[in-house]
Amino acid sequence: MKEQERFEPRIIGFLCNWCAYTGADLAGVSRMKSAPNVRVLRLMCSGRVDPTFVLRAFQLGADGVLVAGCHPGDCHYQEGNYKALRRTLLLKRVLRQFGIDERRLRLEWISASEGEKFARVANEFTEEIRALGPLELTAALETGPALELEEVRA
């Protein structure tokens, strides 16, 4: 396939402020090569990633969603990453029932010093989603309700 025809996946990355985001930042300042497909959103903690955010990302056109937080035991809010782990495992089962390949949702632990790991995860995940192809939920779901500000706060 010609280079310009290659499918460029859209990936949303929810990264926790204290570890994963700092790790991604380190990858950046160290000029490591990481796929630009992962669009990063910084949250305070991986435990803040409401399953609604993940579904909304898919609904609005994401082909993959990365949730990344501190390693087990390192979450700055003690329990947040374990909560993220339980949510992700459950959400993957639900995604499967909706006909969405569960590999499109990925959870990773990335510390503040693991810039290299962030770059590797971003590259690997991009290639994995590229192989899975586009998800294309957007067109079929135009009747979906709009996310209200109150919902983000809830």
């Binding site: 399953p51 339980r86 495992l89 459950l90 029932q97 909706f98 779901l141 309700p145 919902e151 706060r153």
Partner: protein, 323 residues
């Protein structure tokens, strides 16, 4: 002065929403006295052409129950929208898709294949499938088209009010009808009426504790303690992901809430809310153990979205794209 006009309709539904209207008991006499009932296929003999002949906007209030599954459901939804001043999505099917909406976790083809071929009680040697149009000696017959997916009423036409519940509970119906009949100020269009603005848990009197669940139970696997929160006991109760309004009816009967009042205010996706709530009660930090505990939930999507697959963010199952 002529009386205000009332229409009631059922689309893809079970009929429970029709019965609940009668369950308001003697109040139904007030309703019948106040309104001129101009269309109610379940109870009175009207034809679609009677509605077609009415002037646009001449029905004052239309209570529409049922989801949109067929072309007939859609056509009547559009017709009644045009003829009605106030269109109410009445009951869970019209609001969120409800039980008919669970069909969105499978496909049209799978449904037809099971019903007309696969099921053990099917005898259909010629592989006959329903056709929207068929020629018989007497002429051409037409039946409604069975759509690929189930939609909510609001996914088809603009809706003024949403009245959730499977079915809406009689005291709530009385409250709404009384408000309408006394000319009380109605909330802004788009509002949920006949329900609360909290969660089912807020109406539940059970004692809650720090939730620590190592094992989930199906309701038939144990007799729950009547005073403790069911979720604490490992029974999946949708209370935290469900709008208040029923008075926690099921929970009072020692059964978990299944979620029929739909998502609470400011929650778009009922199932996502429930995933979040469940992830908080599981007592494990070990991926394998968590997986084992989660495997005790046989049908997560059907459980968390029992009443709201069509209204959910994902709306329906996708068939896997060709690799």
């Amino acid at each position: 002065m002529s009386k205000p006009k009332l229409a009631l309709y059922w689309a893809a539904s079970c009929g429970g929403c029709e019965i609940t209207v009668l369950d308001i008991e003697e109040k139904i006499l007030d309703v019948a006295a106040f309104f001129d009932i101009v269309f109610w296929p379940c109870a009175m003999d009207f034809k679609y052409k009677d509605v077609e002949a009415m002037e646009d906007g001449s029905i004052d209030l239309c209570l529409f129950n049922g989801a949109i599954r067929t072309s007939e459901n859609e056509a009547i939804a559009r017709l009644l929208r045009r003829k009605s001043k106030i269109l109410v999505a009445f009951g869970s099917c019209a609001c969120d898709g409800c039980i008919p909406g669970l069909a969105n976790l499978t496909t049209r083809e799978e449904i037809l294949d099971w019903v007309y071929r696969g099921s053990p009680s099917t005898i259909n040697e010629n592989g006959v499938r329903p056709q929207p149009k068929v020629r018989v000696p007497e002429g051409e017959l037409e039946i409604p088209e069975f759509y690929e997916e189930v939609r909510t009423l609001a996914q088809v036409v603009p809706v003024d009010y949403f009245m959730p519940g499977c079915p809406p509970q009689p005291p709530q119906i009385v409250k709404v009808m009384t408000a309408i009949m006394t000319g009380a100020q109605l909330p802004p269009p788009g509002s949920v009426i006949g329900a609360g603005d909290k969660t089912c848990c807020d109406e539940c009197g059970r004692t809650r504790q720090e939730k620590r669940v190592k094992r989930f139970y199906r309701p038939w696997e144990l007799v729950p303690d009547p005073d403790q929160c069911l979720l604490d006991q490992g029974i999946i109760c949708l209370g935290p992901a469900t709008r208040s309004g029923c008075g926690a009816l099921c929970v009072k009967a020692n059964m978990p809430c299944r979620g029929c009042y739909g998502p609470p205010p400011n929650v778009t996706d009922q199932g996502a809310k429930m995933i979040s709530a469940l992830a908080s009660v599981i007592d494990s930090q070990d991926p394998e153990e968590i997986q084992r505990i989660l495997d005790q939930i046989p049908d997560p999507a059907g459980t968390f979205y029992r009443f709201s697959v069509p209204a959910s963010l994902l709306h329906r199952r996708r068939s896997a794209p060709a690799a």
